[in-house]
Amino acid sequence: MDQSLNDIIQQLQDIRTQFEKEIEACSGAEVLEALRIKYLSKKGIISGYLALLGKVAPEERPLLGQQLNELKSLAQNLIAERVEGLQLSHRTHTFFDTSLPGIKPLYGRKHPLRVVQDEIKSIFTSMGFRIEMGPELESDYYNFEALNIPVNHPARDSHDTFYITDNLLLRTHTSPVQVRTMEKFKPPIRIIAPGRCFRKDAIDATHYPTFHQVEGLVVDEGINFADLKGIILAFAKKLLGEDIKIRFRPSYFPFTEPSAEYDFSCFKCGGTGCRICKGTGWIEISGAGMVHPAVFKYVDYDSEKYTGYAFGMGIERIAMLRYQIDDIRVFYENDLRFLQQF
């Protein structure tokens, strides 16, 4: 044996360094082929060393074999890579414009009113509420009478009603669903009723003859005003964040007693006063209260045993506040440039 194993391995290292240098400098297919012949052909440099394998001591063979194999496959891989690279660069002669915009599939979007309504629904369903619905074309009985608003009640003034016949009308609020639900089921009741309502308001930036509300109703033993405040607070926090505050003001609805209006702290300025909240720090949301015993009487619930709360909210109002939309009409124009923003 004229060379030590170490010497051979050192030589292999040098060959490797040399090969890497040469392949780095190599620029065309022909040079690459020459390089392949120089190193990898039967008479090439690496093959020459393979002949040495038989000459070293048996115990040294595995190590040398491994080293030789590594070098060989390295050379093969680098050459193959280079060949492929050269072929690719050859193809760019026909220009492929990768910079063209991606072709997007058509994707629909949900209407902002529905987005807000979906969010409200999911908040309440996550708190154990079920969704109920009722007809838009409603009877006087459900829209007014069974809600303790008899004929000639002054509260009818604030409901500018579209009538079809004496007894058939377009519902002015979603509250009729309260009565319909209580007629259908016994307590416990825990529902929200989203839906479309109508009032005979001349169209302007804040009025449209059709609009959407979400009604809430909870009836059971032991339901009270503090629970109502709790649910409204929980809703407000889920909708607008942990920092939101709520405020209840006494008000009047014939179908609740006590009645309240509830406000959220302004989610624009946080309560310090701004244009959105008109400087008050509060944003009026809607009405709420404890179900009036007269309403329970209509649905044959025992008002000594059961108590309940009801609340409402306007979808347009919340959507307008949330997206800072200042004209309700855009919801109903359905201009693509509007719809595509949501």
């Binding site: 979007r109 002054p154 079809i164 649910i231």
Partner: protein, 794 residues
């Protein structure tokens, strides 16, 4: 309802600003809409006293007045009849600015220099009184800037009074609310009525009530020697501040007392009342009557009329009559203060379409015990400000005395409703502060409701009273309430969510449109009778849509007119029609799809590929598949709003909806030129056919065999027939038939098309042999040849 801060201070002591009062009453239930400050539109007007008055030569009405305005004396020429020495008047000096941008300059009138102008109330924009100069209160010091004097402290608080609180349609009612938080009590003004003890009212006025159910109480007074004239400044100013025009002293006084107490009053010219007799009765059939506003009104038998011995003189509680109104020459007055049945007033007011300050108060319920106070208060003012003298006593016809409502409040019930206990002593204090009579027996609070609170009638009303004063915001929300889940499933809701998710997923934009529509726009889509609104907002919103198609077309038109040319839209919404006109209606939920323009509008790849009939059809097929609605098929249809490209969509043979291309007539009606494809499906019918359960089908273990077949077919043979035939002839291992190429053109003969189908075969038990598939294929070819005379394309 507007009140001023100063006016409130007449009845209750407090030191808060208007903003603070507004905040507090809002939290107590009187919602404040806004605070404004009284503003007078003039400048350079000062208070002065006329020291001398001389006639101007060559004039029959002009006077030369010397006016002391504090630091100097001005000479002013004035034509008003009421200028006199010692009179306190407003004087506009040189350079003063009067309303409507009139600037005053020193001038010479009939040769006499005039250094200013003594102003009438009209010239200052305080009232309409223009024929005489404004007479000011003698206590106002000369030289005071009148604008500053008038505007000082006059913050106007506008309250949105809810329908249940008629008491707060009077300033005293609002003062009661202020008294609760300022810890004081309301003091009503005290006064003496100047009466002529020789003359008794019973000899002058007789009141007969024939309909006590509609007019439970009628009181009246007689006042004579009244001089109709301008109101004093304080009165005119107070009314103007709350939005009531000053007319004359008598009218102003009745308005003032109404604003103060909430009790509407009516003053008749006594000389027009036949026999001094008032008869209250319901109107007669076909009776008509001309009210103060000179409108002749048709009455009905439920309208409550105030009449004299011969004729009606007022529409009770709503408006007086033209035949008995106060005029400039009135000297004798019959003053009415009454309590009318709220329901009846409201009914008549609605029926007549006549809502007045008076009817608004009566229909909510005035203070039945406060009727006489208001009568006397106004009488005293007639005497004080109009020089009148009242006859002794008043008429009070009150056949059935209204008893105060008695209610009991159990503290346990209060806790049940509010969720918190409130100490019984605190409850008593709150109710007393609201002027309720309170008596506690065995821990139950017995209450007599004051006559000015007709809204309080049950225990819950008292609970609200306690809660609103205790403070809604002092009741802590219970956020950790145990939830009793209402777990009844709502399949409609989840189906609707699925429909919307799939529709947006296949590229449709969700729209929300108006239910109200023009009749001519819904009619073409309505098989039944459309439903009209009896009292529409306008003609173009006078019907309920009977289909969502016109709604979607309106949105399409809107966008097409705004250069939005390509889009796919959908909506879930309700439609309406009569089943039996006027008696039985149907409300349905529909889903509409609309597509127009190019599939890839604005995208560089294939930009001109238009949305076609089969795109919408494919969307529907995919939609039904995703919804797990099986056995979907299409049938020929004949809708008058589509052109020849139209189909019914059926599921298990039942019609679910339609699709098609909008025809020319409809395009014309909606002023649309573009090609529009529309589909409409019945939501609930579709829901019926939805399969909620999904079960897994195992993936075939054995390989499939694929074959393609091309046929040359007459162009008018529907592909559906061929596919049906392939299925029929294909045998049990044929698993899928798809049309994957349709070709017409030069390479094939005229009136022919080439259809290529891709067929898939497999078995769940074993690997099929080529021979088995070949035999199926030849059966298909034979069958098509035999039955449809179709040949394989070679």
């Amino acid at each position: 309802m507007k009140v001023t801060l100063d006016w409130l201070k007449e009845y209750v002591n407090f030191k808060l600003s208007a903003e603070e009062v507004a905040e507090k009453i809002t939290l107590q239930g009187l919602e404040v809409d806004g605070i404004t400050y009284v503003h007078y539109d003039f400048n350079g007007v000062f208070v002065g006293t006329i020291t001398t008055v001389e006639a101007v030569a060559d004039s029959d009405h002009l006077s030369r007045c010397q006016v002391d305005v504090g630091n100097r004396t001005l000479q002013v020429v004035c034509g008003a009849p009421n200028v006199r020495s010692g009179l306190k008047v407003p004087v506009a000096v040189d350079g003063a600015l009067l309303p409507n941008n009139i600037r005053l300059k020193t001038s010479t009138i009939k040769g006499v220099a005039s250094e200013g102008m003594i102003c009438s109330a009209a010239e200052l924009g305080i009232s309409n009184q223009s024929d005489i100069v404004l007479e000011l209160d003698n206590q106002i010091p000369d030289g005071l800037n009148l604008k500053e004097y008038l505007e000082k402290g006059e913050a106007v608080i506008e309250i949105d009074v809810t329908a249940n609180r008629p008491d707060c349609l009077g300033v005293i009612g609002v003062a009661r609310e202020v008294a609760v938080f300022s810890g004081s009590r309301v003091k009503k003004p005290e006064f003496n009525v100047r009466e002529n003890s020789d003359q008794h009212v019973d000899e002058l006025i007789k009141v007969v009530i024939l309909n006590p159910e509609n007019c439970p109480r009628y009181t009246a007074r007689y006042i004579e020697n009244v001089t109709i004239g301008p109101s004093p400044l304080w009165l005119a100013k107070r009314l103007e501040a709350v939005g009531i025009r000053s007319i004359n002293n008598v009218v102003d006084i009745t308005n003032f007392v109404m604003m103060e107490t909430g009790q509407p009053l009516h003053a008749f010219d006594y000389d027009t009342i036949a026999d001094g007799t008032i008869v209250v009765r319901n109107a007669k059939p076909d009776e008509s009557f001309t009210t103060l506003d000179e409108v002749e009104r048709k009455l009905d038998e439920e309208s409550c009329m105030i009449c004299d011995a011969q004729k009606p003189v007022a529409l009770g509680g709503i408006m007086g009559g033209l035949n008995s109104e106060i005029t400039g020459s009135t000297t004798r007055i019959l003053l009415e203060s009454a309590y009318f049945n709220p329901d009846n007033i409201r009914r008549t007011s609605k029926k007549m379409g006549l809502s007045t300050d008076s009817s608004q108060r009566f229909e909510r319920g005035v203070d039945y015990d406060g009727v006489v106070y208001a009568l006397n208060r106004a009488t005293a003012l007639f005497c004080e400000l109009g020089g009148g003298v009242a006859a002794h006593g008043y008429v009070d016809n009150y056949p059935n005395k209204i008893e105060k409502t008695a209610i009991s409040l159990r503290p346990s019930r209060l806790k049940q409703v509010l969720g918190i206990p409130i100490d019984i002593g605190r409850i008593e204090d709150i109710l007393r502060s609201l002027e309720f009579d309170v008596n506690v027996v065995n821990d139950v609070i017995h209450v007599n409701v004051p006559s000015h609170r007709p809204d309080v009638s049950i225990e819950e009303d008292l609970i609200e009273e306690v809660a609103r004063i205790y403070g809604y915001n002092n009741i802590t929300g219970n956020i950790s309430a145990v939830i009793k889940l209402d777990s009844r499933k709502n399949s409609i809701e989840s189906f609707s969510q699925e429909v919307r998710d799939i529709s947006t997923g296949i590229g449709y934009l969700e729209i929300v449109t108006n239910t109200l529509i023009q009749k001519s726009e819904t009619r073409p889509f309505c098989v039944n009778e459309p439903i009209d609104i009896r009292n529409p907002l306008s003609e173009d919103l006078a019907s309920l849509r009977s289909s969502l198609i016109p709604s979607a077309l309106i949105v399409a038109r809107w966008n097409l007119n705004r250069q939005n040319r390509s889009f796919k839209l959908f909506e879930i919404g309700n439609t309406f029609h009569w089943l039996v006109k006027g008696q039985q209606h149907e409300e349905q939920t529909k889903i509409v799809y609309l597509g127009t323009g190019n599939i890839r509008e604005g995208i560089w790849a294939e930009p001109d590929k238009a949305i076609g009939f089969h795109d919408i059809k494919g969307d529907l097929e995919l939609f039904c598949d995703r919804l797990n609605v099986r056995n979907v098929d299409f049938q020929d249809s004949s809708y008058s709003f589509f052109d020849h490209r139209q189909l019914d969509l059926t599921v298990d043979g039942a019609r679910i909806g339609c699709l098609g291309s909008i025809n020319r007539n409809i395009q014309k009606l909606f002023e649309i030129k573009n090609e529009i494809f529309v589909a409409e499906l019945d939501f609930h019918e579709l829901l019926k056919h939805k399969e909620w359960e999904k079960t897994y089908n195992s993936i075939p273990k054995f390989p499939s065999i694929f074959r393609d077949l091309s046929f040359l077919v007459d162009v008018d043979v529907p592909s559906k027939r061929i596919i049906a035939e392939i299925w029929q002839a294909g045998g049990e291992y044929l698993r899928s038939v798809k049309l994957y190429d349709l070709f017409t053109g030069k390479q094939i003969e005229n009136n022919k098309k080439s259809l290529t189908f891709s067929l898939v075969y497999f078995s769940e038990e074993r690997t099929l042999t080529e021979e088995e598939v070949d035999s199926s294929i030849s059966q298909i070819i034979d069958s098509l040849k035999q039955k449809l005379n179709i040949n394989l394309r070679t």
